[in-house]
Every structure is written in structure tokens, then in C-alpha cells.
Symmetry: C2
Subunit: 526 residues, 2 copies
């Protein structure tokens, strides 16, 4: 029989075998062996039969058998989609304390080949129960019955014990590490841009503000471009609101009223990355972003994560090349490192999710200009296709348009570029036609827009004229303009909505299920 | 002469040679070749002589020579601590427009071996100037003269063009990627915990709050443990303050007054990681943290970054093993991947910084209990050592004590463990002596405390008693307690102050110089 397997030994065994580089055993910082390092071996763990191991996990299903002579426990420790079956004899422990779903059990035992006819390739016969974290089944909020994702949203502190949320967590982690790997591989520096900011315009001195304003700002900026600047009365009313109520929501309302400040906020967001990128080589940020609007859709959160590279010495073509390479890299990474979890998602939620990853990883993205895209949509309408939103040159493409292009017309990823300047932000580079800017969106099947980006306006005189056209005072932008004033050069960047990428990969429908602690109006309580 | 080098070719050349995996060329997303991919080759670039390349960068120093027949430009593009010398003849471009410090220049040219006697191994003779981003020397805020770090803090949007801040950015990036690599390698999942939170206690309903409260909370919690809970009058006064002023600073003041809420905030911070770790295997977070106190020291920021792993099935020993392995990994990573930048820091700021990394990477950390540490300090006092703060069992060790232990007594990293429970947070596991908790701090030369961590209290009855002892109501903690109620198990974690790690590595003195956009009282303007 020999000694119990040292955690270290088992770990190195499996490192040389099948375990993915994004989630290998951490056995060296604990005395138990991760279940993944046993069952994810190419032999399903059967090669370890005859060895001893300490295992810990939570009971998925437990039942007593053979007139209560022993219990079968399906244990899961979060390292894998699969469970390890543990058999405990009544002589070893009081079985009634072990079988409730959710119970935490740590056991020392012997790995053995199960009787033929069972699905498992290996199981553990318990020799000693080291620890039990009990559960009262009458009180446990997550019984063994099938639970809807919606129901689970009321238990974010416990839902990661379920197969689905646990698989999503591993996929999310893999995509995050793939992101850092991709950008480091291509020479980008990870830059930590700040969350806290102040707006001097508001005259609030030492007061902290929160970037909840920023994303909202980007959206409102479109209004700003077409509408006249706020009157003094607007600004005064806004300031009063802040003074009276002062919380973030009021500040947001105030900022909405006072559109000039919104403009400044947008610039500040951009310049933070922007200026760095121009001096410190290409950079990327990866962090939380805020949107304080009162939105209750399945696609919006108050706090979500974005990946935003900014490429030095780059134009729109470089930007599109980078975006395409990055998305392909993410898809291939999941195929290489998360296939077990992807198979689970394909089985339970979206049969096509693995094929979709393969298609995107291997297919060149179609590139069409905005003008061509509108022509295609008009053609579709003429052919009898119904859209809710009217199609004509100058509109911002709606989700239905984007999905028609990528899902129906081309059936592959599509990059639309050169959008009308009036529907895009002022810092996007004006094209020579003076009507469009060097912006681009990456559209993919299932979620539509996955990435938005642009080449930035690097010409001082052009960006100053754009500010004047919009009616913005130059003062708050001076340090943004400094970047054009002192050694300007072409550069470009984009943003990828990280949760949207996870929805695309997993086939899940609701953004609240792909972030550990979703924040949306009325739900930020823990 | 041949064709100009394709960026792609040069990139793969250097990938096979000397370029570090954390910062390789991104040439494929731009038409210029990063300077690093030329001068960081083992041959210093001389092997590329005779090839053509497009280079972009900012002029560090430029001068006209030989009766204005040509100009020497030292170009830096942020990819490397080193510059590439570019020679432009007067026939190629108007030299006067190129030589000002800060000018951005993109040129096509021929790489050639410089005349003997120069330091460079390769230089570029310009054949065509592709782009010039000019600078008016009279207006440029960063002239060629030596600038102090303090002066540069007024120009955070431009300071990354300097050698020092640029080197720090590369070191920071390397440490971030090393962090993700370490934890992924050891099976931890990266979990995105939220910034937005609400506190129901405050009765503020839909209002967003900001986690500025949290770090402050951790500090204030110590007061809380020893002081009685606030009176109703305190709470009322606090609420009034929020109603009247409402901004974050006021909310903080209010929270200070209402210490019960602080306690809740602390718990919420912890539980976010905590509950996940128990179900989804070991996890880590890496993100911004907030401290809203009015502190003007060289060691504190209002917004800083922390790395916080939480290890499932782990006790204090596992926690210390993980912390030691992580710090060693970071040090070795810098030696392996950032030696050029580390040499720059050693040359300019701290002669011992490279030796310090080597020592920490290779020396087992000393481990002493708090009680032993106090005995050592008392012995030192008896031997004539003067401390500003009195030494006796029960005190929280001051920075001077910590640095004495690691710099004078042991001259290597030290882990102090088992602190008195009265100076530590209530969620730390109570030891069997009922006087100490399973907490630990990692102390290193130069900065003192680098990491603080603990095994968490997993026993429901013990943590409930701790809450009662402190005088906190159980209601706000119910979902934290759920984690002990349903399948509890031992676990442990720690936090590393990321900027402190950079100070430790670089030898810089002020935390404001190691984060791109420092936020501190009165300075959050961009």
C-alpha cells in the first residue's frame, strides 16, 4: 500500500500530463490534492489506483446504500467540472452527517478502480474522515433539485458551488489570463488607470468623484455632439442638486444636466490611456468600468470589466488587425485550455458554442465600410427583410442590424469601419472625406458588437476645430491637447466588453450570470 | 541593400534571441520596428547592420553637427531603457524641426555599425522622414535638464517619457504579469470583486457607495474592537452629515462616526473573496483599493493596488508558504525579465536593489511568533536600542520595529505570526491559547511590512462569539456567516500592497512615483 501520496508528488504527476496551464493543482499550499489533478489525467485517474490521497470537497449528491452499511458521496472541490466519488463505510464515520448536499468533507483514502459498469475511472475509498463542515438540509438554500440561473442570482455568495457558475468562473479566469498573455506577448504594458477622479469644473475642490460618470458620459457624448451646450441655468441647477443630495446618483444627474462636464469626463477617461500609450510604448488596461444608468436589461450592468489596448504608431488597419488577432487568440485559448468546461456549456446551454469558437478562431474576419454595410442592409430591406429601426446612411447601427450582418449575411465575424463622424466621439480621427471618422466595430454571431475602437485624432488643429464645432471650451482639455502639442503621432485603440466575450463563448443569455457579483439598479447589496 | 526589414521578420528574430517574454515587440500591429527589438539583441543590434527598418520614437537629445550638415537624434520609444541613435542629413529633412527634446520622429533608414569609439553597437542612417510631431522648446514642460521626481509629479501626463518613470512602468507591468502567472500556475482563479457596494445599514436604498470606505474601515476596525459601539446619537449625527454633504469624504466621516457600519464594510470586503474561495477552489483578486484618509506621507495613496489570494483547505502554515513562494517568484521574475531596467534603478537610485532581489529570491524566510518578536525587541531595548514606540506584548508592531527585525536582527525576510487577538480583525482564526489569532505579516528590508494575512475563523460558534464580544449586531453579517453555516472548512489568505512591492524592488522612496496616476488628498485632477 505504501505511504499516502504527497500532495507535491501527485501535483507534479498531473502537471506532466493533462492539466491545463490555466488551472493546475495548487496542492503545495494545502495538504489536500485537488480533484482535477486526479480525474483530469488522460487515464481519468485509473493509473493512480492503489495510491492514497487526501481529498476535500463539497457533497453534490450523497446517499446511503446497502442497508446503511456505507455512503456514496459525489465530491466537487471547484477545480473541475467533474466530481470524485467517495465511498465511506459506516464503521469509519456517522454516515448521516455526510450525505446532505453542500456538506464539506475532507477524507484520507485509497484510490481504486470502481466496479465495471460505472462511469468513473477511479473512486476513493475513505479510510479516515478528517473534517466535516455540516449542512442542515432544511435550511440550505441550494437543494439538489435543478435550480434556475435566475433563482441563483439571489444567492451570489453560494451560487459558485453550482456546476454552471463554477464552469463560468473557470472560463472567465481563463479569458483573463489569456488577455494578459496576449498583450504581454505583443509588447503591451499593462497600465493601471485610476478609478477616482475629480472634475475641477464642478468647483468641488477636495471631493472625490467616481467614474460611474464615465461610461454614462460616453453614451451622452453623442447627444452633446449634436445639441447645444448647457445654459448657465442648467449648470446652476446641476450644482444645486449635488449640494442638496450629493450622492453618486445625484452627481450623475447633475452631470447629465451639465453636459460640458460630461465632455471633460470623456476626455479624461481617454487621455489617461492615451498619453501613456504615446510615450511608454503600447499599453492596455483591464479593469472595472461603471455605467450608472437605470438599465434592467440582460445585457447591462452598473459595473463591468473592459479590456482596452492602445497601440502606439498605429492606424485603423493596425487596430483592426490587433482586434482580430486578440479575439482569435481568446477563442483558441478556450479550446486549448477549457474544453471540459466548454463541453459542459455546450451540453447544458448552447450546442453551437464550441463550433462558434472554432469558426472565429480560424476564419478571417470580413471587413466592410459603414457605407457598404448600410448598402447591404438597404438591399436586405428591399428584399423583404423587416427591421424595427429604419436603415439609412447616418444612423448608428442597431443590434438587429449588427446581428443581421454577422449572423445572416456573412455568417462570420465582421468588422465595420469608417462611421459617420456625427455618431462617434470627437477624439476619433477625421477621415479625408470630412464626413466619416476612422472608427471600427467588431461584430460577432450571438452577441453582435464585441469590440469598438478607432484611430485617434492626433492633429492638434483638427481636434481643436472639432471641440469648437461641438461648442466645448478648450480649458478642461488642455492637458489632453498637450499630447498633440508635444510630439504627436498616430495611435489607435479599442475596448472589448469582457462579460460580452464570456456570453459569446458560453452561450449564456444574461450578463448577470457571468460576473461573480453583478451590480445593477437595486442590486449591489453584497 | 535589399528590401526594408519586414516588421514581422525583425520581431521573430528578436523573439528567438534576448527579448524578455514580458515585453516583446508588437511590430505586427504597427509598421515601425520597436527599438528594443534591435538594441536588446545579444549583439546589441550589430548583426542587423545593412538592413533597412522603420523606427519611431521621441527625441531624448538632438543636436546638429558638422556645420549643420547632419543631426544626431537619440530616439527612445518606451520599449527599452536604451535609445537608438539616428543620423539625419540636411538633404533629407529640415534639421531644425527634428532636434528639440520631445519631438516625435518616424524615419525609414539603414542600420549600420557606428564609427569605432562610440558606445552604440548599431545606429540608423535616415533615408526618409515619414512623420514629425514637433515641439516648441519654449513651451515644452520637460526640458533636457535633470528633472526631480517631485517636479515630474506635476506632469503625470508627460512624465512617462522620462527614463525613470518609463523603467518603473515596465517593472510594474512585469510584476503584474508575474502575479497572474504565479497564481494561475498554482491553480488559483482570478476573481473580479466589485468596486460598487451599498450598505443597507445606512438606509440609503438605491444609492451607490464607493469602497473608499473599506481600507479605511480595516484601519478603524482596530479602534472598533477595543472601543464601545457608537451611540444612537453618533449614528444620527453621521446620517445627518451624509444627508447634508453627501460626497464620499462626508460619507467617510459619517462611517467613522458610525463604527458599526465600518465593521460591516470590513466583513463585506472579506466575504466577497472568502465565500468564493470556499466553493470555487482557491482564488485571488488584483485590483484597486481605496483609502480616503487625509494622509500626505510618501507611503500612502487614496487609490492603490492590492493582490489578495485566498487559499481553500489551507491553514496559517500554508498561507505563509504561499506568501513566501509568491514574493520569491516576483523577485526572480524581475531578475530574469527586467534586468536592464533594474540596472538603471541600481545605477540611479539604489545600488543594492539587485542584490536585494537576489537575496530574497534565494533565502528562506525567517519565521518567528509575535511573542518571540517582542522578546527580541525587548532584548534590543535592554541592549541600548532606542525605539520611538514602547515595546511590550500587546502592541501593534510599528514600522521601526518591523525594520529592526528584518534589516538589523535577521537581515533577511521575516514572517511574524500569531498576533494578539485584540490588535487584529475579528475574522482571523482564534488560536487555542485564546489570546492570539492565526495572523501573519511578511517583513522585508527597505519597506518593512509587505504582506499581511491570516487563517480565517471557520467555526460558526467562535466567530459569532467574537461578534458578540465586539458588540456588533449579527444581522449585517448573516451572509458571511452562511459560509460557516453551510459546509465550512479551513481557509487562509493574505494581501500584498502592489506599490509597496515596486518600492521594494526599485529602491524608490515615494509611492507617488510608482503608480501612473497617483491619487492623494488634493491631487486627483486627471
Amino acid at each position: 500500500m505504501g505511504d499516502p501520496i504527497a500532495a507535491q508528488e501527485l501535483s507534479s504527476l498531473s502537471l506532466n500530463d493533462a492539466v491545463s496551464p490555466t488551472h493546475v493543482p495548487n496542492a503545495e499550499f494545502s495538504d489536500r490534492v485537488p480533484i482535477r489533478s486526479i480525474i483530469s489525467r488522460p487515464d481519468g485517474g485509473s493509473g493512480l489506483a492503489g495510491q492514497k490521497a487526501r481529498i476535500g470537497g463539497w457533497v453534490k449528491t450523497g446517499r446511503k446504500a446497502d442497508k446503511d452499511a456505507f455512503a456514496f458521496l459525489e465530491l466537487n472541490d471547484g477545480t473541475s467540472a467533474g466530481n470524485l466519488q467517495v465511498i465511506v463505510e459506516a464503521s469509519v464515520y456517522e454516515l448521516g452527517e455526510l450525505v446532505a448536499t453542500g456538506t464539506c468533507v475532507v477524507v484520507d483514502g485509497l484510490l481504486k478502480i470502481p466496479p465495471s459498469g460505472t462511469r468513473q475511472r477511479v473512486e476513493l475509498r475513505a479510510e479516515k474522515v478528517i473534517h466535516v463542515g455540516p449542512v442542515d438540509p432544511a435550511k440550505y438554500p441550494l437543494p439538489k433539485t435543478k435550480l434556475t440561473l435566475e433563482f441563483l442570482r439571489d444567492f451570489v455568495h453560494l451560487r459558485s458551488r453550482t456546476n454552471t457558475i463554477s464552469a463560468v468562473a473557470r472560463i472567465r479566469n481563463a479569458l483573463a489570463f489569456a488577455t494578459h498573455t496576449f498583450f504581454n506577448k505583443h509588447g503591451f504594458l499593462y497600465v493601471h488607470t485610476p478609478i477616482i477622479t475629480t472634475s475641477d469644473c464642478e468647483g468641488a475642490g477636495e471631493m472625490f468623484q467616481v467614474t460611474s460618470l464615465f461610461s454614462e458620459a460616453e453614451k451622452l457624448e453623442k447627444e452633446l455632439i449634436q445639441n447645444p451646450p448647457p445654459t448657465e441655468a442648467d449648470v446652476e441647477a446641476a450644482k444645486l442638486l449635488v449640494k442638496e443630495k450629493g450622492d453618486i446618483v445625484s452627481q450623475l444627474k447633475a452631470a447629465k444636466a451639465s453636459k460640458q462636464e460630461i465632455g471633460a469626463a470623456v476626455v479624461e477617461l481617454k487621455k489617461a490611456k492615451d498619453n501613456v500609450s504615446k510615450v511608454e510604448e503600447s499599453v492596455y488596461t483591464f479593469g472595472p468600468t461603471f455605467r450608472a444608468e437605470n438599465s434592467h436589461t440582460s445585457r447591462h450592468l452598473a459595473e463591468f470589466w473592459m479590456v482596452e489596448p492602445e497601440i502606439a504608431f498605429a492606424d485603423l488597419k493596425d487596430d483592426m488587425n490587433c482586434a482580430e488577432a486578440y479575439v482569435k487568440f481568446l477563442c483558441q485559448w478556450l479550446l486549448d485550455n477549457c474544453l471540459e468546461d466548454m463541453k459542459f456549456m455546450a451540453d447544458k446551454f448552447d450546442k453551437s458554442c464550441i463550433d462558434r469558437l472554432k469558426m472565429v478562431a480560424s476564419t478571417p474576419f470580413v471587413r466592410v465600410s459603414y457605407t457598404e454595410a448600410v448598402e447591404i442592409l438597404v438591399e436586405a430591406v428591399n428584399g423583404g427583410k423587416k427591421f424595427e429601426n429604419e436603415v439609412k446612411w447616418g444612423i448608428d447601427l442597431a443590434s438587429e442590424h449588427e446581428r443581421y450582418l454577422t449572423e445572416v449575411k456573412f455568417q462570420k465575424p465582421v468588422i465595420v469601419y469608417n462611421y459617420p463622424k456625427d455618431i462617434k466621439a470627437f477624439y476619433m480621427r477625421l477621415n479625408d472625406d470630412l464626413k466619416t471618422v476612422a472608427a471600427m466595430d467588431v461584430l460577432v454571431p450571438k452577441v453582435g458588437e464585441l469590440i469598438g475602437g478607432s484611430q485617434r485624432e492626433e492633429r492638434l488643429d483638427v481636434i481643436q476645430q472639432r471641440l469648437r464645432d461641438i461648442g466645448l471650451p478648450p480649458e478642461p482639455y488642455e492637458w489632453y491637447l498637450d499630447l498633440r502639442r508635444f510630439g504627436t503621432v498616430k495611435h489607435a485603440g479599442f475596448g472589448l466588453g469582457f462579460e460580452r466575450m464570456i456570453l459569446f463563448a458560453t452561450g449564456l443569455e444574461n450578463i448577470r450570470d457571468v460576473i461573480p457579483f453583478p451590480r445593477y439598479p437595486g442590486r449591489a447589496d453584497l
